[in-house]
């Protein structure tokens, strides 16, 4: 008895493959209705021309009404003579037409916004693409903001996204492969790469992983990224998600592969190494010295963001000898006001900052600004006055939080924020030795992560000095003759070497 209560219900999937639909319109109507669960927004329009009956089947809310009326219904109504599917094909003014007679083809296409036109008694029908899915116009990027450079972002329509990429790279060698993924809600996934730059093996791995996914539905491209990545246990992401088309463009030209998913405004770029997450498109648009400076500032900021709070906890709990005389009195006096040990104090403040950040992301914009100011300033000030925390710790926590926000990719910023907590815990338990233990652990872990089979810490290990000028710092364009080696590109040269290095004598 219990068995029947908790057993999962089995649902019969009732689409058979490979059978044509019935050629009688009435039966066909019934078949289609049953396959779309008798939804009432399915329109089954019958056009009678003399003795011929034409059925036009479509979902009312998915099509462009003007195109439907002007380009399909009117030419059909005004057509004379005997129609068969080939004549229909010539009469309708729609660009994309396919012929079919399979019932599941018809259903799969109707739910994507095509109209099916079928003459009673004919062998095949015509599928006409009049889809008009809801989408936004081109807008500014919201999660990744830049000072310099193009600012448009991807939208939810995959055709528009591909439009942006192809407009940026009008190389005929740009190759697009389409997959339909998902068994219940099929989504269109497109893999974009430049054929003679991207490495064969990477493309094959991507293709194999995508086609091997067996899943109900993929909601967003980030979900797809999580499914095809190498190691799902780690904190560190292995594929970059971005909503900037120029970031895609730059990566494609370096030999990476881009994945677009329908209805998702983020593109997935892979394989991405650890250093790729710290490159922002601004470094490339700025001149090389500013780009290098920005990158170094970023690395230093992330380094301090991870280490500053644990160092504070470790020094104040175990290693008081390290404090210089000048800071001794101020640190000691401010600490003596606080009832908790430094470990709890630090964790508490970190938690409050995370609360602020999370709440700020969820609040509606009208309330968000005020709450941010209240949270940041008032809570900070008040807690110091109340003797809840010390003011030095507030400065340290603020610097760490700011440092973690300098990461150009949101995913890696979150990863950095999260790994700070175990390091604080270890610092509170074992002091300097604990911090070192955590750092060694993170180092070994980073060495083990692979992105799409490639080592994660390229170009540091395996050591490719030539790639340093792309990831760690930037050099003037005369020196960027070859593409980065880490992606094993097939076509390596970018600027003809002789021209890049022509030197002129004085006053010549």
């Amino acid at each position: 008895m219990l068995n029947s209560v908790f057993r999962r219900r089995e649902v019969k999937k009732d689409i058979e493959n490979g059978s044509p639909h019935s050629f009688d319109i009435e039966t066909f109507h019934k078949e289609i209705l049953s396959l779309v669960s008798n939804s009432e927004d399915l329109i089954f329009r019958i056009i009678t021309l003399g003795e011929q009956k034409l059925a036009v089947v479509y979902f009312d809310d998915l099509i462009n009404t003007t195109a439907m009326q002007d380009s399909i219904i009117r030419p059909l109504e005004e057509s004379k003579g005997d129609l068969n599917y080939q004549m229909i094909q010539d009469t309708i003014n729609i660009a994309k037409l396919t012929q079919t007679n399979q019932i599941n083809d018809v259903v799969n296409n109707i739910v994507n916004g095509t109209a099916y036109i079928f003459k009673q008694g004919d062998t095949h029908g015509i599928l006409a693409d009049v889809a008009d899915k809801g989408t936004r116009g081109l807008e500014k990027a919201e999660t990744e903001s830049l000072v310099f450079g193009p600012k448009i972002s991807f939208t939810e329509s995959i055709t528009k996204n591909l439009n942006l990429i192809r407009s940026n790279i009008n190389d005929p060698k740009l190759c697009v492969e389409t997959f339909m993924i998902g068994s219940r809600a099929k989504k269109k996934v497109q893999m974009v790469y430049i054929k003679d730059i991207a490495e064969e093996e990477n493309v094959n791995t991507f293709r194999q992983r995508i086609t091997e996914i067996e899943v109900d539905s993929i909601v967003d491209s980030t979900v797809l990224a999580q499914m095809i990545e190498d190691n799902s246990y780690t904190f560190f992401p292995q594929l970059i998600t971005t909503e900037l088309p120029d970031r895609c463009t730059i990566s494609l030209l370096h030999g990476k592969i881009c994945l677009l998913v329908d209805r998702s405004p983020t593109a997935v770029i892979g394989p991405s190494t650890f250093m790729n997450f710290f490159e922002s498109t601004e470094d490339i648009y700025m001149r090389w010295n500013m780009g290098t400076f920005l990158r170094l500032v970023r690395f230093v900021a992330i380094f301090f963001s991870i280490l500053l709070t644990p160092a504070y906890v470790a020094v104040l709990t175990y290693h008081y000898e390290v404090i210089p005389s000048a800071l001794l009195v101020s640190l000691g006096q401010s600490r003596s006001n606080v009832p908790f040990p430094p470990f709890f104090e630090a964790l508490l403040l970190e938690f409050i900052i995370e609360l602020l950040r999370e709440a700020g992301a969820r609040l509606p914009t009208k309330v968000g600004q005020t709450m941010g100011i209240v949270g940041g300033i008032v809570i900070g000030q008040a807690s110091v006055q109340a003797g809840f925390t010390s003011n030095i710790l507030i400065i340290i926590i603020a610097i760490s939080a700011l440092g973690s926000f300098t990461a150009p990719s949101y995913a890696i910023g979150t990863a950095v924020r999260i790994i700070r907590f175990p390091i604080i815990i270890m610092a509170g338990l074992y002091g300097g030795v604990g911090i070192m233990f955590c750092l060694c652990f993170i180092l070994i872990h980073l060495l083990k992560v692979t992105t799409l089979g490639r080592p994660y810490l390229s170009p540091i290990y395996p050591f490719r000095f030539a790639d340093f000028k792309y990831s760690l710092f930037r050099l003037p364009y005369q020196y960027l003759v070859q593409r980065p080696l880490s992606n094993h590109p097939i076509d390596q040269g970018r600027i003809p070497e002789k021209k890049a290095k022509e030197k002129k004598d004085v006053d010549e």
Partner: protein, 370 residues
């Protein structure tokens, strides 16, 4: 068991990484105490002992690589099999596996003693041992690529410690080193013998040789790595002798760390606390390399899965740390391992080299195994 090892393409690494492997295998916990040990034997000519020991290391390294080059792609376990046959080679291989395990143990215990003396007197040995063994197991489970990666990154991240020697150099008194060459040859030889335990690590080339891509360049990079280690040790010894007085150097157990005591970088008064914590990154490649060698031996010789061997050895080392509590026992164990290290790393490979050359004096090169 095969004589030759032909690993997969993706496990092999570039030859220049041998520099990092040899250097990090040699520089571990011994460098902190090295000057005192040799000073006790050779007085103010201790640095000459170190230089001579370094030259000896280079010679033995050369012989080892020449021995490896007579085969296609083998390691020490394979050479034993080739020279001695099946059963005796098993005995020698077990000896080496046990030796490397004990070296790992000694390094770990010495580091823990350093931490207990300088920072945390109350920290139990088994606790820190557990943490370090956890790191070591996690690293070695990733295979040779991760171990070599740790050697590379470990050296690069710890490189700045070398520059910290600038301040003691300012306080050095060159009179302590003069007059030169006053010790008797016997003293210098004893100095070389004593420094052997610190300088071992270069024989790991015998075990990582199959994984190197460009086998012709191994000699060059190996000599550079070992040479840099010798240079570093010599500089440390010279500065220690110049910095400390005779009585002080005989009493200071870890001269390098005591020299760090006078460093004052802006905003941090006492640098040695940071240095001792950071030393973990210096010994980590050390213990990972030895541990990998020992567990790889189990796989090669007895066909035990390497994972099982790793877990087994880890638990064994951890339990052993509970047995030894005081300094005196630890010193005795260290001395015994030191003696055996001289034989197993310096003397025995030369002997083996001669055996191999004798065997192949009439036959041609041994190619790929059937």
């Amino acid at each position: 068991m095969n004589i030759n090892v032909n690993p997969k393409e993706r496990l092999m690494f570039n030859a220049f990484l041998i520099m990092f492997i040899l250097h990090t295998a040699q520089t571990g916990v011994g460098i902190a105490g090295l000057p005192r040990v040799i000073y006790m034997e050779a007085n103010r000519d201790a640095w000459i002992s170190v230089v001579l020991a370094g030259i000896l290391v280079s010679i033995v390294l050369y012989l080892m690589i020449k021995m490896l080059e007579t085969y296609d792609s083998t390691d020490l376990y394979g050479i034993h099999l080739d020279v001695y046959g099946k059963w005796i080679s098993k005995g020698f291989n077990i000896l080496y596996i046990g030796y490397y395990l004990s070296v790992t143990y000694v390094i770990l215990m010495n580091y823990i003693e350093m931490v207990q003396a300088w920072i945390f007197p109350k920290m139990p040995t088994w606790l820190l041992m557990g943490l370090l063994i956890f790191l070591m197991v996690y690293c070695v489970l990733g295979g040779i690529r991760v171990v070599v990666g740790i050697a590379f990154l470990g050296l690069i991240l710890a490189f700045w410690l070398v520059f910290m020697i600038y301040t003691p150099i300012k306080y050095m008194d060159f009179n302590h080193l003069q007059p030169v060459l006053t010790s008797s040859p016997k003293q210098i030889l004893m100095g070389i013998y004593k420094s052997s335990f610190t300088l071992i690590g270069f024989e790991l080339v015998l075990f990582v040789y199959p994984y190197i891509k460009e086998k012709k360049k191994v000699l060059r990079y190996g000599l550079i790595g070992a040479g840099y280690s010798t240079f570093l040790f010599t500089v440390v010894t010279v500065v220690s002798i110049g910095f400390f007085s005779e009585d002080a150097l005989l009493k200071t157990i870890w001269p390098v760390l005591s020299m760090f005591k006078i460093l004052r970088i802006p905003n941090l008064e006492r640098f040695e606390f940071i240095a001792v914590s950071f030393w973990m990154l210096v010994i980590l490649p050390n213990i990972c390399l030895y541990f990998w060698t020992a567990s790889r031996g189990m796989k090669r010789v007895f066909n035990v899965s390497q994972k099982k061997a790793i877990y087994l050895f880890a638990v064994l080392l951890w339990i052993l740390s509970l047995c030894v509590q005081d300094r005196i026992t630890m010193n005795t164990i260290t001395d015994k391992v030191g003696t055996s290290s001289f034989i197993l790393s310096f003397v025995y490979p030369c002997f083996l080299f001669m055996l191999v050359k004798l065997k192949y004096i009439f036959k041609k090169k041994k190619g790929v195994d059937v």
